[in-house]
């Protein structure tokens, strides 16, 4: 399948600061691609470059087969962007805001009015559609900003920190909205976030960035395979296990690492699922007061921190490792 977004060796400088450094990734139509990284990683700059707001210092990029630098206006007819702040006109009403951005996107009456009514209803804002935005809560503003991004039915949706500053309830509502909108409409979504749970929940593939550089690119399975291969097993004991037992466990074929989390809980990394029964049998055989044994997938959080602060975490792991 032809990539809808293709970025190759993309670089951008703000003065002396290299905000994006030889970035490479691509996105397939209909997928949710996460751009993950701390503040200053280059996520927002990448979105601006992909929409033709900035001119790259070097590298190639195409979005929907268009060059954002020379065909930015044409491209922006097909992209919708949820900016980090809602960026709404506070003195205008929700309807006036949507109407303005609809006309700017080339929509005309009466289709625009119908679409506005549809989105206001979808985002549960119909009753307050004629109220000024300054009277809206943060969650309502975010919903309206999302409605604005979706107004002209963009083929690619850029969501920059969609849940930034929202309470857990509002965040969950936004997650559900994104999931339903994207899966139903088959839009391609580029989600910029530093919220790891959000990224793991919503994204098909991830681009992990730090200081403008690409640290990793792939699906969760790819990243697990690449950076933390194997399977983690959380084992809970009724009574503390002697620390010498860790040495014994490492002799089991397929056991890679043993980490006591506390006196009664250990985390054991094994090569694959087939090692888990052997591990359970061994623990029973050594009379360990086994309470529970739960295999679990490596989370994005673990991969992310391994990538972002590899040295510091590696050091911590060494301290706990037997």
């Amino acid at each position: 399948m032809e990539a809808i977004v293709r970025v190759d060796q993309l670089s951008y400088r703000y003065g002396e600061c290299l905000a994006v450094d030889r970035l490479c990734f691509e996105s397939q139509p209909g997928e949710v691609l996460g751009l993950l990284g701390p503040n200053g990683a280059g996520k927002t700059t990448t979105v601006r470059l992909l929409n033709g707001l900035l001119v790259p210092a070097s590298g190639q990029l195409t979005v929907m087969g268009l060059d954002p630098v020379s065909q930015g206006c044409r491209l922006r007819r097909h992209t919708g962007v949820l900016t980090e702040t809602p960026a709404l006109y506070e003195r205008l009403t929700a309807r006036q805001n949507l109407n303005f951005f609809g006309v700017m996107a080339g929509m005309e009456s009466p289709a625009l009015e119908t679409r506005i009514a549809e989105l206001l209803a979808f985002f549960e804002l119909t009753e307050r559609a004629n109220q000024r935005i300054s009277a809206y809560s943060k969650g309502m503003k975010q919903r309206l900003a999302l409605a604005r991004a979706l107004l002209h039915r963009p083929k690619i949706l850029f969501l920059d920190e969609p849940t930034s500053g929202l309470d857990p309830e509002a965040s969950r509502a936004v997650h559900e909205l994104i999931e339903s909108i994207c899966r139903q409409n088959g839009q391609t979504v580029l989600l910029c976030t530093h919220n790891l749970h959000e990224a793991q929940r919503l994204c098909d593939r991830l681009v992990i960035l730090d200081r403008g550089q690409l640290l990793a690119f792939g699906s969760m399975d790819d990243l697990r395979q690449q950076f933390v291969p194997g399977l983690w097993v959380a084992v809970e004991f009724l009574r503390p296990l002697p620390s010498a037992a860790a040495e014994q466990l490492l002799t089991i074929p397929g056991v890679v690492q043993v980490k006591p989390e506390d006196k009664r809980t250990w985390t054991i990394r094994v090569e694959n699922e087939s090692v888990v029964p052997s591990l359970a049998s061994y623990l029973v055989a050594m009379n360990a007061a086994l309470l529970s044994l739960m295999p679990r997938q490596v989370s994005l959080e673990e991969i992310y921190f391994k990538l972002q602060r590899g040295d510091r975490f590696a050091h911590q792991e060494v301290q706990h490792e037997y």
Binding site: N51, V81, T83, A87, R91, L92, V103, M104, A105, G106
Partner: protein
């Protein structure tokens, strides 16, 4: 250039100004002072307070001043009594430059706010993500300041015309205002000057991070010019 986009930007900005009382109130008060209060004062106060205006007009310096006026002005004043001459001089000629300043007075706030304000209110990025070109954004912002400025200036002119003619009718017995020079002034020079001043202010707003900075710089430049 997409006219629908220009119209959308201008309409949006005008709507925002309309919602902001602090922004449009001075636009109403200033014309009221210059169009209503001062002309009425100039016409009516000497009549009611019995000010010896003849003595004032008999000042030799003023006579020299009037004698050195261009022939066209002298021709206009021909046959008028001293009070009529004074009113024509003041209201027909000396007030004219005010109507060149009016559009800039009305529009400087809107024009200075155009881009710097969007930046301050963090709405600039959303605007840039629309399919509008840079020139459409610029022109839209210029129109947002130019249209209300022109409407207010022309409105003030027509208001001034009514006030001056109505208040001075008992003295003149006829409609004497506007003088012929006002037509090109109002419908040619004032719009052109306004467009130039507004464009310069919007350009300053593009470059400035804050509305206050843009307003200060553009005001200094325009008024010194």
């Amino acid at each position: 250039m997409n006219t629908k986009i220009l119209k959308a930007i201008a309409t949006k900005d005008i709507l925002e100004v309309k919602q902001n009382k602090a922004a449009w109130m001075p636009m109403v008060i200033v014309p009221l002072i210059f169009v209503l209060l001062i002309p009425l004062g100039l016409i009516l106060i000497p009549q009611f307070l019995d000010i010896p205006i003849d003595e004032f007009l008999a000042d030799p310096d003023l006579e020299i001043f009037l004698a050195n006026m261009p022939p066209s002005l002298q021709q206009t004043l021909e046959g008028l009594d001293p009070i009529q001459s004074a009113l024509v001089m003041a209201l027909g000629y000396m007030f004219a430059p005010l109507f060149l300043i009016f559009p800039l007075m009305f529009s400087t706030v809107i024009a200075a706010e155009s881009f710097a304000g969007e930046r301050e209110r963090k709405t600039m990025e959303a605007l840039l993500y629309t399919p509008a070109t840079d020139s459409e954004l610029f022109m839209g912002k210029v129109l947002a300041a130019f249209i209300p400025a022109l409407i207010l200036t022309w409105g003030s002119f027509f208001g001034y015309m009514i006030v001056v003619n109505a208040a001075s009718f008992p003295l003149f017995g006829r409609i004497w205002f506007p003088l012929p020079s006002w037509w090109p002034l109002m419908f040619w020079i004032a719009p052109a000057l306004a467009l130039l001043g507004i464009s310069a202010t919007v350009l300053i707003s593009v470059r400035n991070q804050t509305f206050m900075g843009a307003y200060q710089l553009s005001s200094s430049l325009l008024w010194s010019w």
